[in-house]
Amino acid sequence: MKKVLIILSVFLLIGCVKDDDILSPIDNNIVDVPESLVISDLQGIKVESTIVTSEVKMNVKLPYTGTYRVKIRDIGKELISQEKLQANEGDNILKVYVSSLENNGYTLELTDNNHDVLGITSIVVNN
């Protein structure tokens, strides 16, 4: 009898759960995005702070999983640093390291592997 009651209770509990919770697909890229890095658009790049010393967190939000590039350009738009990375669809919390950059203003450019720009932002290095 005790076993029957336990089984019944389990069914009752399941019955109380919303359908949405059961039917939602499993998200493989569950990232805890700080409020300062939330990107409302489907893709883009955002830094936690515009003025940067040593390093800063950035959110790279992508339309699909794949190979992307983060480019750093100087005031004359010349490319001075480029990272190629594999990243997941959605938010990706990464970092920009600026210790080897001169104190100056730079633009951060997010592109796909074919150099098509997905987002752009700026930083000011103040080491």
Binding site: S81, E83, K84, L85, Y97
Partner: protein, 558 residues
């Protein structure tokens, strides 16, 4: 009747002209410079009548002199008559200027005197002028031509005044000569004394500027440069020094007009970009010269475009002006520098904390004299020329990447003296060394826990290339440099660990083999902190290639 009257007036006028005595004032000495002493003598001349007979003698000689006190300073009044019976006086009023009676000639000195007495000529206040009244009286008359007084004036600098020249300095306002019985004597004279060609004096604001590709190409700016001014021929005692502004301009004060000075421009040697002055492009130019024109610049042929390049390329050994030459000593010295090999030689390769400055007047920068490039530091401010342009370049910078490329036609090596393989004289003057461009890809990424920088190239006609890489030494350690440039290449890697820099590149000294396409260079770093990605960890500054003819290739990176 009318004719008679006209004739009478004419006769009277003629009598008047011939009968006047004069107050003559003239310069005793020649003056040319501010600070010189001008001596003016004031002289009595007795008049004559129409028949040539002397006019009556005077016993009173009185006249007013005014001088521009902004341009002259009275330093002495010296009486010239030696009579013991004379009475003499000089009175001075500063801040007054005579306004003549315009109804009379200015040089009608006795007439102006009478007008002054009647109030038709007046003294008004004027801070720029001073008046001296000279009075000499004696029972014995002066002889015609006797000097009454010599006045010494010191010439002042007009830069401190509102005057632009010295053309009106001294006027006699009026003269009062009287006979012993009080009869007024007619007196005439000249209107003024002025001077021309006075040199020297404060030059005021003198504008100077510096031209360099450091400024033009935004490598740095004009504030990275400074100047030092010496008397011409001196290099020991600076007369003035200072910095240029961001645009490369400066204003110098305290110089004198019509004086020659030497000005030398220096670059702030602490600037890190100076490590990028001498690169594989310069190396290629020097190697080509050493191979193809061993006896240049005085010899038969040269690969250079400008005489000045022979000075810049001569980084070791006897200097060009002293009979030196561009040879393999110079090219291998540069190669050793790029490879990070310490040289025991004294070299003239510009780098951070070790800049070899060369500067001179821009318009003649690098001009050839007797087969040798020259630069002139000399300039001379004058009233009409207070703006001077200078150019600057650096030892070892053979392709002028951080210097001023000459624009004077006299700086060009004639095509007839150039090696036929390197003639670029059809290009625009001052742009002979303009680089070509080519696309290249430099990317960093995390691979198996390592940070890998790959340099991908599809450029097919490079005999040399160089990449100056800066990395975050607080997070990375350089582990390895992998070259895949081809078997004929001389590769170099200069790791400056303390500053987190590594310069890599390749060069074919025979100018025959090109660097392999694909991935000729790969740098492998070990992270010393946990990394999720590599953005910003590795940056690149100098990225350039060079073709067999010495043309620089500037890489455009995607």
């Amino acid at each position: 009747m009318k004719k008679i009257l006209t004739l009478l007036v004419s006769v009277l006028c003629t009598l008047n002209v011939f009968g006047q005595s004069s107050m003559d004032y003239s310069k005793v000495n020649t003056v040319t410079q501010v600070g010189d002493t001008l001596i003016v003598k004031y002289q009595y001349f007795k008049g004559t009548d129409v028949n040539g007979n002397d006019m009556p003698d005077a016993t009173l000689y009185q006249f007013d002199i005014q001088h521009n006190n902004k341009l002259l300073d009275v330093i002495e009044n010296a009486w010239q008559p030696t009579s013991n019976s004379s009475q003499k006086a000089v009175n001075t009023w500063n801040g007054y200027k005579f306004t003549i009676d315009s109804e009379k000639d200015q040089t009608d000195f006795d007439g102006q005197y009478l007008s002054w007495l009647s109030g038709d000529a007046t003294y008004g206040t004027n801070a720029d002028w001073s008046v001296q009244r000279v009075t000499y009286q004696d029972v014995t008359s002066l002889s015609s031509g006797d000097e009454i007084m010599k006045v010494s004036y010191k010439i002042k600098d007009k830069a401190n005044s509102n005057y632009t020249d010295y053309t009106n300095l001294i006027n006699v306002n009026w003269a009062n000569y009287k006979e012993a019985d009080g009869t007024q004597i007619d007196v005439t004279g000249q209107s003024n004394i002025g001077l021309t060609g006075i040199q020297g004096g404060d030059a005021g604001n003198v504008s100077i500027s510096v031209s360099s590709n450091v400024i033009t190409n935004n490598i740095g700016d004009g504030s990275d440069f400074s100047y030092t001014i010496y008397a011409k021929g001196d290099t020991q005692t600076p007369l003035a020094s200072g910095g240029f502004d961001a645009a490369g301009d400066a204003t110098v004060q305290g110089l004198e007009n019509d004086v020659e000075y030497d000005l030398y421009v220096s670059i702030d040697s602490s600037k890190e970009y100076l490590d990028n002055v001498v690169t594989v492009s310069d190396l290629a130019l020097v190697f080509a010269e050493a191979i193809g024109a061993g006896n240049s610049p005085n010899g038969i042929s040269t690969t250079f475009d400008y005489y000045l390049q022979s000075i810049l390329a001569n980084v070791v050994g006897t200097s060009i002006p002293a009979g030196g030459d561009i040879n393999f000593d110079d090219s291998y010295e540069i190669l050793a520098y790029l490879q990070g090999v310490e040289s025991t030689n004294t070299t003239f390769i510009s780098k951070t904390n070790d800049a070899f400055n060369i500067s001179g007047i821009k318009s003649t920068f690098g001009d050839e004299v007797n087969g040798i490039a020259t630069v002139s530091p000399t300039f001379k401010p004058t009233d009409n020329d207070k703006s001077f342009q200078f150019a600057h370049t650096l030892g070892g910078d053979v392709n002028f990447s951080h210097g001023f490329e000459p624009t004077s036609t006299n700086a060009d090596i004639p095509t007839s003296a150039q090696s036929t393989t390197t003639q670029r004289s059809m290009m625009v003057r001052g742009a002979k060394l303009n680089p070509e461009t080519a696309n290249l890809e430099l990317t960093s990424e995390l691979q198996n826990g390592q940070v890998v920088l790959t340099i991908g190239s599809q450029v097919t006609d490079m005999i040399g290339a160089q990449f100056n890489i800066t990395y975050d030494k607080t997070r990375l350690v350089l582990d390895n440099v992998v070259f895949d440039t081809g078997n004929e290449m001389t590769n170099f890697s200069n790791h400056l660990e303390e500053s987190g820099k590594v310069n890599i590149g390749s060069f074919d000294q025979n100018f025959e083999t090109n660097i392999k396409t694909g991935t000729p260079y790969k740098l492998i770093f070990i992270p010393i902190v946990e990394l999720q990605n590599t953005s910003g960890l590795i940056t690149f500054k100098v990225n350039e290639g060079v073709k067999a003819d010495g043309t620089q290739i500037k890489f455009i990176m995607d």
